[in-house]
């Protein structure tokens, strides 16, 4: 295993953006895993004596209007936000890749049907569509993931389809056809691995978008429900105290930005590594 990883490590080390992005993401992953150990307080424990305390040694990020420790809530929130970013991307990625591969390679009616479906989805503003789906399914993270999967695959399908249209005319596709390889074999073993790099890079920037829309949905009260600690919810809750207790919104907000930055750097670095230009 170490032998196989050595060239990968060498490639990463030469790309400071990728390295920085990966370090940030790994840092957040550790925070998420170790939140129960490193968080000094219970994130949902209310304490009437400690309301709206500014940052201090005891409470580095201060406390909110219920006297909860913001530092602990930010640490616990990492778990949920990282989960939102990953699950919110994985399902659209899988659906979109499959649809794009089929539409691009098979063409004809399959292509027409999927492309019209994509047109319909794109005709609605993203958030409006998300909100309607969540409204129908009822508020909660699960609804958010389902809505994300129903709407988010569109970009991946279009990316992969465009690549497949080019790749299916390449000589090795013709060669595979002339050698009697089956359609699925040509699509998924020969063409898809060569088409997927752009989508992998895009999925990183998509993580940022999903993270932000997750926060936005929670902010609107349709995602994560209080008192659960999630950065978007925390920003929403701190809103009414923004002039008097800025720390309630500042620290979760900074966390969103930093995690997004990590994904974004990783995306740029991967694009460079895989030779994809956006």
């Amino acid at each position: 295993m170490t032998v196989a990883l050595a060239p990968a490590w060498k490639a990463v080390r030469r790309r400071p953006t990728l390295l920085a992005g990966l370090i940030l993401l790994i840092l957040f992953l550790f925070i998420a895993l170790l939140a129960p150990v490193i968080a000094p307080y219970d994130p949902i424990l209310q304490n009437g004596d400690l309301r709206l305390q500014p940052p201090s040694w005891g409470h580095p990020f201060g406390t909110d209007n219920f006297g909860r420790d913001i530092f602990s809530r930010v640490l616990w929130g990492t778990r949920i936000d990282l989960q939102i970013a990953v699950i919110g991307v994985v399902f659209p990625f899988l659906i979109g890749t499959t649809v794009g591969t089929l539409a691009g390679y098979l063409g004809g009616k399959v292509d027409t049907v999927f492309m019209r479906l994509i047109d319909i989805i794109l005709a609605f503003p993203f958030l409006v569509l998300m909100l309607s789906i969540i409204a129908i399914l009822g508020p909660g993270l699960q609804s958010f993931y389902i809505a994300m999967a129903l709407v988010g695959w569109v970009s991946y399908a279009r990316l992969i389809r465009a690549q497949m249209l080019v790749l299916k005319t390449v000589d090795y596709a013709t060669a595979a056809l002339s050698l009697g390889f089956s359609g699925p074999r040509i699509m998924f073993r020969h063409l898809l691995p060569n088409a997927i790099a752009g989508s992998v890079v895009f999925s990183m920037s998509d993580c940022v978008l999903v993270l932000l829309s997750g926060a936005a949905i929670s902010y609107l009260g349709l995602g994560v429900q209080p008192p659960l600690a999630e950065w978007g919810v925390m920003v929403a809750e701190g809103q009414s105290f923004i002039t008097t207790a800025w720390w309630i919104t500042l620290f979760p907000g900074l966390s969103i930005v930093t995690l997004a930055f990590g994904f974004s750097l990783t995306g740029d670095g991967l694009g460079d590594l895989l030779g994809v230009r956006e």
Partner: protein, 570 residues
């Protein structure tokens, strides 16, 4: 030679790689006289393009740097002058043209304006005057209707006309030196002949000095005054073309000349003496009045019903088992479409194709099953033909597994045999295409074709992308395999010399139809059609004393066929 116009001394270019510096050009020295055409010859990776880019400091990568040497022009050393000065030199003193005019012309700008722009910038004249000069240049580079064609966009012209336009852009600043980097490699032979003639005419009329980069010794023999042979960044040999071609000093040059698939008499020996095919044998492939039409897309909304483009129009052809048939023709002649149709890769619009007794149209399933197990294709671009993510071993193993031609446990052994057959070391099984040279990739491609145990191999321009010495090796390999495995070979090429070397029978295609067909020697020594004659004449011969266009046909024929070739396909 009098005082040289451009003088290069000890030029070295170093690439600062991750594994330490690599010298790509190693103390190169040469002179270029006024009105001289100097040929820079070498295979890919020899540093010929890089040399010319270094002259005007247009380095393709920031990791490349000129480490020593001088490039003297008018008493100035171009390697040390300021960035502003070198920009003046580019264009005004030294113009450049490239292999692919499509990617070097601005697709959104009228070609006339692209020429006028250089005139305005470098000569400081107003736009009206610039237009007048541009029209004059368009006429000089051979546009028949400059006033009308001034307003055309690059995509409206054929490849040859685009190359003329790019020469026009290079001439717009009235340079004294023109660097032409493989200017005709992407063009058909008849068009190539015209462009080379244009370069020679410009030399006559403007006293232009030209550095012509090419891998084709035939081209240098026909156009250049002196030849410089490069290999791995070193100058092996430089001298008058007759000296270099007639009495090459360096063994590499000798090898290069020997590899040139020239047209002289010797290839009569090279053609495999073939037993006459028994008359009663059934043809392996039988094509009868084949038509292939494609729907034309991109028409306007109101232009009426769907339009079709006929790529193959009524072709009939028989190929006997064990035969080697060459199909020649220029781009757009339908030769590749014919091959794809006969392999069942392109739908047939009309007519019949029978492979080994199975009709592709009426017995499609049966015929396709036969075709997939008994035919294979070899492609033009070896890198594009192999999946870049799979090792050669994995590629071959997959074919063997899908075809079920050998039992599972015999697959690794068979891979080794296949690699032996095509002359690759067995360790190539673990290599990926991008870590191999073009020739090695092409051998791997042939190994994949052989993995099928084919009766018929269709080779589509399979040596066109390779260097001459590699071309010769691949052709030898085909000849060897044909004899050993009793293959039937359909060899598609635009390079007549190679077809003449390898094939017993040749089919000449033009605009989707067969214009001439017959035993190779007969067709080449006594072509019946003017088109075949023009194709043969347009090949630049390695013998400098054989002129580019035969005195018989002369210019009239060249013009006439060029009209045919560049004419709109309707």
């Amino acid at each position: 030679m009098s005082e040289p116009l451009l003088s290069v001394r000890d030029l070295s270019v170093v690439f600062a790689g991750e594994d330490g510096p690599r010298t790509l050009i190693d103390s190169l020295s040469f002179d270029l006289g006024k009105g001289e055409i100097l040929g820079l010859v070498g295979e890919s990776g020899s540093g010929k393009s890089l040399t010319c880019r270094s002259l005007v400091r247009l380095m393709p990568s920031p990791k490349l740097a000129i480490t020593s040497g001088t490039v003297m022009l008018d008493g100035k050393d171009l390697t040390t002058v300021s960035e502003a000065d070198i920009r003046e030199v580019r264009g005004r003193d030294i113009g450049m043209i490239f292999q692919n005019p499509t990617s070097h012309l601005d697709p959104l700008m009228r070609i006339g304006d692209q020429i006028a722009e250089g005139i305005r910038v470098h000569r400081g004249v107003d736009s009206k005057e610039a237009r007048a000069v541009a029209l004059d240049i368009l006429a000089q580079v051979g546009f028949p209707h400059p006033a009308r064609q001034y307003n055309g966009y690059p995509h409206e012209f054929s490849g040859g006309m685009r190359q003329r336009a790019m020469i026009g852009v290079a001439l717009s600043c009235d340079p004294r030196i023109l660097i032409a980097d493989e200017p005709t490699t992407a063009l058909d032979v008849t068009i190539q002949a015209q462009i080379l003639r244009l370069l020679m005419d410009l030399r006559e009329s403007r006293g232009l000095s030209v550095i012509l980069i090419t891998h084709d010794l035939g081209i240098v023999a026909q156009t250049c005054d002196r030849i410089a042979v490069l290999r791995q960044g070193r100058l092996l040999e430089i001298g008058d073309k007759r000296d270099v071609l007639g009495r090459p000093q360096h063994p590499y040059t000798q090898n290069l000349i020997a590899s040139h698939p020239s047209m002289p008499e010797r290839q009569a020996l090279a053609v495999i003496a073939q037993e006459p095919v028994p008359l009663k044998a059934r043809p392996l492939v039988e094509i009868d009045d084949l038509h292939v039409r494609f729907p034309v897309t991109g028409r306007g909304l109101f232009s009426g019903g769907p339009r079709e483009f006929a790529a193959v129009k009524g072709v009939s052809l028989q190929v006997m088992p064990g035969e080697t048939v060459g199909i020649v023709g220029e781009s757009g002649s339908g030769k590749s479409t014919l091959a794809r149709a006969l392999l069942g890769l392109t739908p047939i619009s009309e007519g019949h194709v029978t492979f080994d007794g199975a009709d592709i149209v009426t017995e499609r399933t049966k015929a396709l099953r036969k075709l997939r197990r008994e035919t294979a294709m070899v492609f033009q671009d070896p890198y594009n033909a192999l999946n870049p993510r799979l090792t050669i071993g994995a590629t071959l193993a997959e074919v063997l597994a899908v075809q079920e031609s050998v039992p599972k446990e015999r697959i690794p052994e068979r891979i080794g045999e296949l690699l032996d057959l095509v002359g690759l070391e067995r360790e190539f099984a673990s290599r990926k295409p991008l870590s191999m040279s073009g020739g090695q990739c092409q051998r791997a491609g042939i190994a994949r074709a052989l993995a099928v145990n084919p009766k018929l191999i269709v080779a589509d321009e399979c040596v066109a992308a390779l260097d001459v010495t590699i071309q010769a090796q691949i052709v030898d390999l085909f000849r060897d395999l044909k004899q050993r495995l009793n293959l039937t070979l359909l060899f598609i090429a635009h390079d007549l010399a190679i077809v003449r070397n390898l094939c017993e029978r040749v089919v000449v295609m033009y605009h989707g139809q067969i214009v001439e067909e017959g035993p190779t020697e007969d067709v080449f020594s006594a072509p019946r059609e003017a088109y075949t004659q023009a194709l043969i004449d347009a090949i630049p011969d390695i013998d400098p004393d054989k002129p580019l266009v035969s005195p018989r046909g002369g210019d009239a024929l060249a013009e006439e066929t060029s009209g045919l070739v560049t004419g709109e396909i309707s």
